[in-house]
């Protein structure tokens, strides 16, 4: 094991896979000479050369399409967007090509592609740079979506994503890049898709989260423990496929659930989770399932208002008390 930062863990995972498979390359804006807008690809140009660490002009739709086309004929590209927000201009490529080529070719072609970038809120970057794009992409059959919360999972999931034969969308967080954690050194250790992690055990209530919000949920759980409520925190890690079993197992134990995530409240991954809980654990529930989300407005710039709009530990605590019928 080594203590790595989240960004270093992603880099370690990509580098190992690039050493293992020369079909793998990284392509995106500022990934090479600039060393990565968030330094995730730092040093990779020097190590792998310009053929495999490819700087692009600002052409998200163009280079996403190029990566899809290259994947269709056998390469395994990793596309880095500067942030997931900018994938919106490549949405047609992701929706209509990456997710559709396999089916519309009758299974003749597939797209082994990784799309990755920081996602969700950062710090006062305003409405256009604060989107939680996983809610758009998990809707689409043909895509897989993962969102690691820890350095170990960041490495294990990027390796699984690169080895996968389908398009995988990998959601990072700018606010997690510097966190440190123990990461396996063995290049054959990967984290499978569709398997959630119990980040904290507890019998009183289930809090379901992913990415940055796992850490916020753990902070809430510590405060709740001081008030006598033991929360179980489920870190989904993988959003599509979703580890339905892990969610239901926990809810059957705790009988209460709160889903805490960044993203607007209308629809989205949280609503999907609530649907599955009410269908699969209806008789086990002692309270309606609640969601703690980003407020239903574009992200404001003002620091105080931004914090009001982003879901916080206090909101999770309130929701937990509500489902626990505690004031």
């Amino acid at each position: 094991m080594s203590a790595l930062r989240y960004r270093e863990a992603i880099r370690a995972g990509m580098s190992e896979e690039m050493e293992r498979d020369d079909r793998v390359f990284v392509i995106g804006e500022e990934v090479g000479h600039y060393q990565g807008a968030y330094k995730v690809t730092e040093g990779m140009l020097e190590k792998f050369g310009a053929k495999r660490v490819v700087d692009t002009p600002i052409t998200e739709s163009g280079f996403t399409g190029i990566a899809i086309g290259a994947a269709m004929v056998g390469l395994r590209p990793i596309v880095e967007y500067m942030t997931w927000n900018f994938s919106a201009v490549a949405f047609d490529q992701i929706l209509n090509n990456a997710a559709k080529v396999r089916q519309m070719s009758g299974g003749q072609l597939n797209v082994p592609l990784v799309l990755r970038a920081p996602n969700g809120s950062a710090r006062q970057v305003g409405s256009q740079h604060s989107h939680s794009m996983e809610h758009f992409y998990t809707h689409i059959p043909g895509l897989k979506c993962v969102a690691p919360a820890t350095p170990a999972d960041a490495k294990g999931l990027i390796k699984t994503a690169i080895r996968d034969d389908d398009p995988v969308l990998y959601f990072e967080s700018e606010t997690l890049y510097s966190i440190k954690g123990e990461v396996p050194d063995d290049p054959e250790i990967t984290v499978p898709f569709g398997v959630a992690r119990v980040a904290r055990e507890g019998a009183g209530v289930t809090i379901i989260a992913w990415s940055r919000m796992v850490h916020v949920a753990l902070e809430a759980a510590e405060k709740l423990a001081a008030e006598g409520i033991e929360a179980e925190v489920i870190d989904l890690r993988s959003l599509r496929p979703l580890d339905e079993e892990a969610i239901i197992k926990s809810v059957k134990k705790t009988h209460r659930a709160v889903v805490a995530y960044e993203g607007f409240p209308y629809g989205g991954v949280g609503a999907e989770i609530v649907d599955r809980i009410q269908r699969l654990a209806f008789d086990d529930l002692d309270a309606p399932v609640l969601r703690v989300t980003t407020r239903d407005v574009p992200m404001p710039y003002n620091a105080k208002l931004e914090q009001l709009v982003i879901p916080q530990a206090a909101g999770i605590i309130d929701a937990v008390k509500q489902v626990s019928y505690r004031s």
């Binding site: 399409g65 090509n97 089916q103 043909g142 389908d166 496929p241």
Partner: protein, 326 residues
């Protein structure tokens, strides 16, 4: 530039046969559509056949080809059987895309026909991507990408052109300018009539001509294809053509006059080639090959009619290659 005079009658007969096969396929597809055997959209290639046929003659088997939803002609030219093509239109599991793609999504990986795509311009970055892969692997393989002049206004066309020129990708962009972006004539969609000029801003080679015959298309495209293969330089080629049917089967074509249509039909490369061959004393050969094509198309319709439909077990299996993600 034109090498028509050096072609033997046998070569011309062979190219005529390919054009005639596409035309008869499309005419019978239109009939089947009217009979309700084909659903959804149906965009016919009638009038433009010489382009796909000529291009195929200039390509090698391992080269990648990709096009829009008006894709039957290119698929047949590349080597897809009429059976697999007609069965796809009929939504049958024996179709090239197992009846899951339909008219707009003909794929035949064995013949390096990498598909027909339904979003205008959206396939052009993919085409650049296949060329990117060829260059990455240091193969002498060329990608040819077809699109209409209606694609030249959308961003993906420009991004694909820009990146292909920047990275010197082995690709030939072929604009089949049939003068109408659905129902809108090009004077109302483009600020310049000469589409090939769009190459200049990207520092890309270009060519431009009116389609006269499959031999001419072959010879002109061969220059660009050879350049891509030998020097990995992209080219934009504009070929002026004309479609004799509507944009799709639901289009009555009220935006153009019958005089204009009749005038253009007189310039039909397929009819002209037949007249040339007939003048050269090849009537019996023409009649023989036309009879063969008739039989091939009738066989394809019978095959499509009698083929089974795809079952629901295909749905999830063709959505993900790996485990289904739910």
């Amino acid at each position: 530039m034109t090498a028509e005079t050096t072609d033997t009658d046998e070569t011309k007969l062979s190219l005529y046969r390919k054009c005639f096969q596409i035309r008869r396929f499309e005419e019978e597809a239109a009939r089947a559509y009217a009979q309700g055997k084909i659903g959804g959209f149906l965009h016919l290639y009638i009038g433009q056949e010489a382009i796909a046929v000529g291009a195929q003659e200039a390509l090698q088997k391992e080269d990648y080809a990709i096009t829009t939803y008006r894709d039957h002609g290119l698929a047949l030219a590349r080597g897809m059987t009429a059976r697999a093509a007609m069965a796809e239109l009929f939504g049958k599991v024996t179709g090239c895309s197992k009846g899951l793609g339909g008219s707009m999504h003909f794929f035949d990986v064995e013949h390096n026909m990498l598909g027909g795509y339904g979003i205008i311009g959206g396939h052009l970055p993919l085409a650049a991507g296949t060329a990117y892969a060829s260059k990455y692997r240091e193969e002498k393989r060329v990608t040819i990408a077809f699109f209409g002049e209606g694609s030249c206004s959308i961003g993906d066309f420009h991004e694909a052109m820009s990146l292909s020129a920047l990275w010197k990708l082995p690709i030939v962009f072929v604009c089949e300018n049939n003068e109408y972006s659905m129902g809108t004539p090009m004077v109302r969609t483009m600020s310049v009539e000469d589409v090939s000029q769009k190459a200049i801003g990207y520092g890309m080679d270009r060519d431009r001509f009116f389609c006269e015959s499959p031999m001419q298309v072959r010879d002109r495209l061969k220059v660009a294809i050879d350049r891509a293969r030998e020097t990995s330089a992209p080219t934009l080629v504009e070929i002026r053509t004309y479609r004799f049917r509507g944009h799709s089967m639901s289009d009555p074509g009220k935006y153009r006059s019958s005089d204009e249509l009749e005038e253009r039909k007189r310039k039909d490369p397929v009819t002209k080639l037949r007249i040339d061959l007939e003048s050269a004393g090849k009537l019996s050969e023409l009649e023989r090959l036309e009879k063969e094509v008739e039989e091939e198309i009738q066989d394809a319709i019978k095959f499509a009619d009698e083929s089974p439909e795809p079952g629901p077990e295909l749905l999830e299996a063709t959505t993900y290659k790996g485990a289904f993600a739910r």
